[in-house]
């Protein structure tokens, strides 16, 4: 009886771990071979008896001699959240991996095609073990909040094995790197030496589709290399994410709904779907979805994130905070939860608390500019333009082409009275937005267009200002602020009749607008001072003179 014969059969396929433990125990009792001890420990790991496994491995003194055993022991410590111990175990291993062969196999990595098989199955593992150890180290560092080291470890793991998707996914989904750094990682990977020709492009394409989409609006299309995988849900989801960033929420919603119909708990798709539901204000759907999620995955961060988002959407902020903080305790590195947590404070004008949450988020998602942008926004709202600008430029350092950042910087310059610079930034933002769509702009960009109008108005280019505001009205009809902006331009142009008309429209939509009310009064008086009585033509008073008319 040997480990290889029954273990792969009963363990991965049938999940009869208890059986496996029973027989492995008996096996170890008779054979005492290293492989068998390792298998025994592994079955313990599967059944969650981590400390027992560690004890087994240490008592047999296998940890020092065999990296795979060491890896397993460290993994057990990791599962018990004993980060330091896990590191200690790993540190016994020299980081400069020797090529010396070990006879142990590990079932964690499947055999690679390029592996040069020295001793059949037994030897096919050393390198896998290396990258696994790197990955585990990364995870431990991340758990210990040492994100830069963690990122280095993930990168190393990826370099050792370009197929190690986990490492790549952790790097990308936790926003550890900026967009350019992500690109550098992909470019530096030794695809050519590790993959068969032809496959390299596909892998590169797959990775590429996962990279950050929050820096510059692009067209959401499936790249050509991935054409054979066009029906793959992951690939489709990545286009949905691009749509989300492009603010084309309805397109994103269409895709995510389709994906979730096929695969209701697609973990890649769920966060995007939740975000889209929030944007589209579909609280009923979000309610149902979060209930389903909480029922099936009560210990997953995403479920509580959904619940928190639902309460945020329904403006029940205390509950939202409660559930979002639950989400962050379940998974500390979940950036979106932190951001949403910040939003719940921001919407209540509790700027300090909001900023605290955003700061945490910014430490977690170092490669993403959004938390920094939000901090800047909060500073802007508290009238601290200096600090706001500093954070905006930091955000711009991370994502130089993001139109949101450019827009906010423009707003700051506008507030400082630096109109040409503000206009330059607004225009730049607009050009980035327009780059990705050939049709109408999304509704989300209405403030940008309106701001361009404000800048033009301040520089006395009234006609241009009107054009921009009209365009904004097209994106977002029946907006009180746009109407009052148009009216203001008309008032400045001296066209009081139209000004009065538009101020009326604005006030019809928003009654308590003091600006419009005061402006309306002054425009009205100006208009009434200049208006001709009756029709346009001034008719002259004619009256019979001097004759005596009395009878």
């Amino acid at each position: 009886m040997s480990g290889e014969t029954w273990l792969p059969m009963s363990v991965p396929d049938k999940h009869h771990y208890e059986t496996a433990i029973f027989w492995a125990d008996k096996l170890v009792a008779v054979s005492d071979a290293v492989e068998d001890v390792f298998w025994y420990a592994q079955t313990m790991y599967y059944t969650g008896q981590y400390h027992r496994a560690i004890h087994l491995l240490t008592s047999r003194k296998l940890i020092k001699a065999y990296p795979a055993c060491r890896y397993l022991a460290a993994k057990c410590h990791y599962e018990c959240k004993e980060w330091q111990e896990a590191l200690n175990v790993l540190d016994m291993l020299d980081m400069s991996f020797t090529r010396a062969s070990s006879t142990l196999n590990t079932s964690l990595g499947q055999n690679l095609p390029t592996q040069d098989d020295k001793e059949g199955g037994d030897a096919a593992l050393l390198r896998n073990c290396d990258n696994s150890i790197c990955l585990l180290r990364g995870r431990i560092y991340e758990a210990m909040d040492n994100r830069s080291l963690a990122a280095d470890c993930y990168r190393e793991a990826l370099r050792l094995d370009v197929y190690c998707f986990e490492a790549f996914d952790l790097l990308v989904s936790h926003h550890m790197l900026t967009a350019t750094e992500e690109q550098d990682v992909i470019d530096s990977l030794p695809f050519d030496s590790q993959c068969p020709p032809g496959e390299a492009e596909v892998i590169k394409g797959l990775y590429q589709s996962r990279t950050k989409k929050y820096n510059c609006p692009q067209e959401a299309v499936i790249p050509e290399v991935l054409a054979p995988l066009a029906d793959n849900l992951d690939v489709i989801v990545s286009t949905a994410e691009q749509h989300l960033y492009n603010c084309n929420f309805r397109a994103a919603h269409k895709i995510t709904t389709k994906v979730l119909n096929q695969d209701p708990y697609n973990s890649q798709c769920l966060p995007i779907h939740i975000a889209v539901l929030v944007e589209l204000k579909q609280s009923n759907d979000l309610f149902y979805l979060s209930h389903k999620l909480v029922d099936s995955y009560p210990d997953k961060c995403i479920s509580w994130f959904a619940v928190g988002c639902y309460y945020m959407l329904t403006e029940n902020y205390p509950f939202a905070r409660w559930y979002l903080s639950k989400a962050t305790t379940l998974e500390r590195a979940h950036g979106p939860s932190w951001l949403a947590y910040g939003h719940t404070f921001g919407m209540n004008n509790d700027h300090d608390q909001a900023m605290a949450a955003y700061f945490t988020a910014s430490q977690i998602m170092r490669g993403c500019h959004l938390p920094v942008l939000y901090i800047g926004l909060e500073y802007g709202l508290t009238n601290n333009a200096k600090l706001a600008e500093r954070f905006f430029s930091e955000a711009r350092g991370i994502a130089p082409t993001d139109p949101f950042v450019l827009h906010e910087m423009g707003v700051i310059h506008f507030g400082n009275g630096n109109l040409p610079e503000a206009e330059r930034l607004f225009r730049k933002a607009l050009s980035h937005v327009q780059a990705c769509t050939n049709e109408m702009l999304e509704e989300r960009w209405e403030p940008l267009i309106n701001n361009l109008g404000h800048v033009a108005r301040k520089q006395r280019r009234y006609q241009e200002a009107l054009d921009y505001h009209r365009q904004a009205l097209l994106l977002c009809p029946q907006s009180a602020s746009t109407y009052s902006a148009i009216a203001f331009v008309y008032a400045l142009m001296g066209n009081h009749a139209d000004a009065v008309n538009y101020f009326h429209k604005a006030l019809g939509l928003r009654k308590d607008d003091t600006f419009s009310t005061t402006m309306l009064t002054s425009s009205m008086e100006a208009l009434m001072a200049e208006i001709s009585p009756c029709d346009g033509n001034i008719e002259i008073q004619m009256y019979y003179h001097t004759e005596d008319l009395i009878n």
């Binding site: 204000k281 097209l474 009809p477 939509l509 009585p533 008073q541 009256y543 005596d548 009395i550």
Partner: protein
């Protein structure tokens, strides 16, 4: 109205062509569930007798794509008929050939409208922000389809697009799209009516590029009557009557409404009564008829009409409006408001009810509610001069003269030939101490035919204030001439006129005239005692043949007196309220 648009030739009527067109129009509209347009076409078609070529009515073969979507289309139509709009929309979600696509968009639009009406809060305040998600969705979809050259929108598709744009308040674009729509499908009456709503002045009308089609004349007539060009409108309708449409209740109703707008109340009543005989169960336009009866204070007729409408269809905006008017005439204003509110629950865009409700609130001196109601009316259609006028009155009561001036001015611009719009304008100017403008207004009111016959008196008062005594004298004289003979009950004004004249002539030593005027003064209670004194003065002065010193003294007092009476007239609040009597408010709608 040659300066506005070229009218189509109304002399030759190709009745066969028109009848064929009407039948096709009815069918096309009904297939797309544009039920009002279909009703209109069917009604007109039913009114004319003509033999037509059956071949021309053959259904044009729809393409393959349509037949593929045929089942979904039919199912959706059934759902639509049962007012299950969302379901209809969903059934058609994959359909792209013109007809099903139209119904798909139209049912989504209807679903949104229905939901909005259902969710309308009970009160008429607007605390909830506008939710236009669906409309915006429609707009993006239709815009995308419209810019797509290959599979663009057909005439009916453009119509929905135009309607959506109009709802979103994008007027310019809506007009442009609707013009395109009527050019592509001239037989779509729904598009014409929608376009007519958007033509708010002559400039816009002049700029439209419309197809030269017989249906255009009916559109123009509609627009003309909205733009207060009743002469032109009635000419077109008469031409249609002559052309063989004399049995059409649509045309007759339009004529009646136009007469009403022309203030030709006798003809209007007669035409409405004729209409009732022709089409006894008609409810459309009966609201206008009830306004007319209200203005004429014909209680019995109004009561009869209200009862009749109530038996035909109790829950219908027109019926509610008729009943509301009836209660208003009986001074049961709360009940009237209740009925107008009911009308608005049935259709929040029913403009008459908003305006009339504003009037009722004014009766109850609830100015803020009145302003709300008037503003809502203007949101529905800014051409409603009654609402502008009502706003002017409200702000006058609130003592915000520049606002009320603005609103009166807008009302006056819409009804340039209505003296009732100019006089309050003049009063406003007078309150703002802009007497020159006020003078012009009163003069204009007098020139265009002063219905209330007060313009001259007000003008004369102004002259008196400005010490343009000769002019004042002439104006007062003219006023007296005008009102004399008519059994005027406005004694106060008359007595003041005579008093002024007496003093004026005394000053100018026209003893006879002065004496006559003073004599008249004694006929009025207010001036009797003063007049007796004056008569004595005249007598003595006439005897003395007037030393100069005496005259100047007399002059001083007389001017004082006039100035005082004028001030009291200016500032007296009861007058402002007094004018808010229903009769003054509900001039022709």
């Amino acid at each position: 109205m040659a300066d506005v648009v070229d009218l189509p030739d109304l002399t030759s009527f190709d009745i066969k062509k028109i009848k064929t067109d009407l039948i096709i129009s009815q069918r096309e509209s009904y297939e797309r569930r544009l039920v009002n347009a279909a009703k209109w076409a069917a009604e007109l078609s039913q009114a004319v007798v003509a033999t037509i070529d059956k071949k021309e009515l053959q259904q044009t073969e729809d393409d393959e794509e349509f037949w593929e979507e045929y089942d979904a289309y039919m199912l959706a139509k059934s759902y639509f008929d049962l007012k299950e709009f969302d379901r209809a929309h969903h059934t058609l979600r994959h359909c792209n050939s013109p007809k099903p696509y139209f119904l798909r968009m139209y049912s989504l639009y209807m679903a949104d409208q229905k939901k909005k009406a259902d969710n309308l809060p009970d009160s008429n305040d607007r605390s909830e922000p506008l939710k236009n998600e669906i409309l915006k969705t429609l707009q993006t979809d239709l815009a995308a389809k419209c810019s797509n050259n290959k599979a663009g929108l057909d005439g009916y598709g453009l119509y929905v697009y135009g309607v959506v744009l109009a709802k979103l308040d994008l007027k310019q674009m809506a007009i442009q799209i609707l013009v395109e729509a009527v050019n592509k499908a001239p037989l779509n009456w729904a598009a014409w009516t929608e376009l007519a709503k958007l033509v708010t002045d002559k400039e816009i009308l002049r700029s439209l590029q419309l197809p030269n089609h017989w249906i255009k004349s009916l559109f123009l007539a509609k627009v003309f009557s909205e733009l207060q060009l009743q002469e032109e409108a009635i000419n077109i309708y008469r031409a249609f009557m002559r052309g063989g449409f004399c049995d059409s209740s649509y045309i007759v109703a339009q004529i009646a409404v136009t007469y009403n707008d022309m203030k030709d109340f006798v003809m209007a009543v007669a035409t409405f009564q004729h209409l009732q005989v022709m089409d006894p169960y008609r409810i459309e336009n009966m609201d206008t008829f009830s306004n007319l009866l209200f203005v004429q204070e014909k209680r019995e007729e109004l009561a009869h009409l209200a009862h009749k409408c109530c038996t035909v269809n109790k829950y219908c905006v027109e019926t509610c409006c008729v009943i509301g008017n009836y209660y208003s005439l009986r001074s049961q204003h709360e009940k009237a408001i209740l009925y107008f509110q009911r009308a608005l629950k049935l259709n929040a865009n029913y403009i008459s009810a908003w305006t009339l409700m504003g009037h009722e609130y004014m009766e109850l001196k609830n100015t803020s509610a009145a302003i709300q109601a008037y503003r809502r009316a203007l949101e529905v259609d800014e051409r409603d001069y009654r609402a502008w006028y009502g706003l002017g009155q409200t702000y006058e009561i609130l003592k915000m003269p520049s606002y009320s001036l603005y609103y009166y001015r807008r009302a006056q611009a819409l009804r340039p030939n209505d003296s009732r719009m100019v006089i309050p304008l003049g009063e406003c100017y007078q309150k703002m101490d802009r007497l020159q403008e006020a003078k012009k207004c009163f003069w204009k009111a007098h020139c265009i035919g002063d219905v209330e016959e007060i313009a001259l008196f007000k003008l004369a008062n102004l002259f008196a204030i400005l010490e343009e005594k000769d002019q004042a004298c002439q104006a007062y004289t003219e006023y007296i001439n005008q009102t004399d003979g008519v059994n005027s009950h406005n004694y106060e004004d008359l007595s003041r006129s005579y008093w002024y004249l007496a003093n004026y002539h005394l000053e100018h030593k026209n003893w006879d005239e002065a004496y006559a005027a003073a004599q008249k003064c004694t006929e009025f209670a207010e001036t009797r005692e003063q007049a007796k004194g004056l008569l004595r003065t005249i007598q003595t002065r006439r005897g003395q043949e007037g030393p100069c010193a005496m005259t100047s003294m007399q002059l001083d007092t007389s001017i004082d007196g006039i100035a005082q009476t004028d001030q009291s007239n200016q500032g007296s609040p009861p007058r402002a309220f007094e004018r808010v009597t229903p009769v003054n408010l509900k001039f022709t709608p």
